[in-house]
Symmetry: C2
Subunit: 338 residues, 2 copies
């Protein structure tokens, strides 16, 4: 089959790779319905993370079950499935605690920008829909497998409550999905920090009530003005830089909460500053599996449409252009069709 | 009147100081019933915090109302009152959010090791008991004004739940009160980290089910062994050093919670490590006022007896010896009687 392989910063190629097979009884192989490029794929693409040997890319997917291992009893060939970027057996103690992305048998997906994908821990990871959804819903379901699940987790970790005020730091796909989540969880005021007009527009469409274009301390000042001088109840940090984290911590009110979901790159948090702020902080790779049944339902009933974060659709074979467009900020997120 | 004044590291004197008066309509002046020395008083005493000019000390108190300002309508002379080390108007938005120790009008108490004390924001800060409690209960109520309130906050911030497992890092008065709090909140297993026999004994009396004497990575290993390999649901960090914080973060299970109440001294938290742990982190000066009515009730009904953390009682005029005994670890906490 063919799939994306990264060779060096800026060098992603669509080439022939080994066909995936069931290697363990707990595996499944799916035929990719749609896949995409993630903001986090840009870290190695931009040389901000080591690449090492050329390797496949991609961790977002929805698809059709092709084949299952002998231990996979809940799935059958032909079913349409949604998974998570982190696989989980969904039975271990961490899974039972709701942190499936910290499953004792977790494997991070990394070969999904391809025609077929092997899914470890398939029974615990994949959720099948009752029937094959209308193709118009695939992009939304694909978003659920990562960015929408992550936006939801950001809002959940930031303890968004009905009637509360939420700030979203980061206007990438995750941040935009965070706006959806905050809205669904009942936030009355949702302040999106964004300086890109098209993203501001989408944020508003998703439920943002205010847009703050300033950054850093100026941005924090603006948030304070909008929140009676004290800051927001909940802040969703959807970037992962030190600046974004600092902005998030300062934008939260005393005793507020920051949910941080951008993988932190060179972020250190000052203990004393956090102490005197009373702010609660929780982050991590989103436990998407916890949210899958609910989020799939919200997409299938058209209650939410996170698929709108895809503003560029390309054939899978043009994956390189998909990266380039996102790197150059011509696209928020690229959908890839095999 | 007379009170404690710190002149230099190791040099606390009991000397004549100005009588306190009502300076603002919102003030009260109380006659101290009992006061004490706090673990945090040892930071300047040990030269770990700058002292500057000689200044009074002490932030824990229970006492009798002597005089109130014109704006204080809920208190009258003669009442027995319990307060908090942080004063609060109990009406501002931060107070209403439950973070009275972040009150917009907060003043930290700092003159309580004295015969009389001025209490700013008296109406919001002081809680009067219905009648003057039996003198045997004063030590417990004094503990409530700081260490018990702080231990409670540690357990609350660490989200201790019925049936859960809690670890307490630090066997000082706050840590020991944290054991009481975890027990009251229904923790089924309470692991106290302590290497001092007398403190271990008190911890067990307060409800600790296990004692871990190892520290650092060894201590964390031991916690893991006791918690099915994954760590504890809740960890109460009651020290404030980098080592204690690291121990606490590593002792929590994926998705568990750390409540940190020791004022952090040179503590930096690695963002990426926190991220992959899924651990929730919240700390700060305890919002004691939030808990006062409940904790006073628990002491008055003899449901808890945090007064047991006082293992040395001295006349107030021997305050210097009170510091010395704690510095030399001959005492956990010194009670001072005017």
């Amino acid at each position: 089959m063919r799939g994306a392989v990264i060779h060096a910063p800026g060098d992603v190629r669509f080439e022939t790779v080994d066909d995936p097979h069931v290697l363990h009884p707990t595996d499944a192989v799916i035929r990719t319905a749609v896949t995409c490029v993630c903001g986090s794929d840009l870290w190695p693409y931009r040389g901000a993370e080591p690449i090492g040997d050329p390797h496949p890319m991609g961790h977002e997917y929805v698809g059709f079950v092709e084949e299952v291992g002998s231990a996979v009893t809940s799935l059958r060939a032909g079913q349409f499935v949604v998974g998570s970027f982190a696989t989980s057996d969904n039975t271990c103690v961490n899974c039972r605690n709701g942190f499936q992305s910290n499953c004792l048998h977790r494997e991070f997906m990394s070969t999904c920008q391809a025609e077929y994908v092997r899914i470890p821990n398939a029974q615990g990871t994949l959720v099948a829909t009752d029937e094959v959804p209308d193709e118009g819903l695939w992009s939304g379901l694909l978003a659920v497998s990562d960015v929408m699940g992550t936006g939801w987790w950001a809002a959940d970790a930031a303890e968004v409550r009905p009637g509360s005020t939420a700030v979203v730091v980061g206007d990438g796909a995750v941040g935009l999905c965070g706006v959806i989540a905050a809205k669904e969880m009942g936030a009355e005021r949702i302040i999106a920090m964004s300086r890109h007009e098209s993203r501001q527009k989408l944020a508003r469409e998703f439920g943002a009530t205010d847009i703050v274009t300033e950054r850093g301390e100026e941005g924090v000042e603006r948030i304070r003005e909008l929140t009676g001088g004290i800051g927001a109840d909940s802040v969703l940090e959807c970037v992962g830089t030190a600046q974004a984290m600092s902005q998030a911590l300062h934008a939260a009110r005393p005793g507020g909460n920051v949910g941080f979901v951008g993988v932190p790159h060179e972020v250190a948090i000052d203990g004393q500053e956090l102490f005197f702020s009373h702010v609660g902080l929780r982050g991590g790779p989103a436990p998407v599996r916890r949210y899958l049944p609910d989020l799939i339902d919200r997409v299938l009933t058209a209650r939410i449409d996170p698929g709108k974060v895809f503003d560029l659709t390309l054939p899978l074979e043009q994956v390189a252009e998909g990266y380039k467009a996102m790197d150059e900020r011509r696209a928020v997120k690229t959908l890839l069709k095999p």
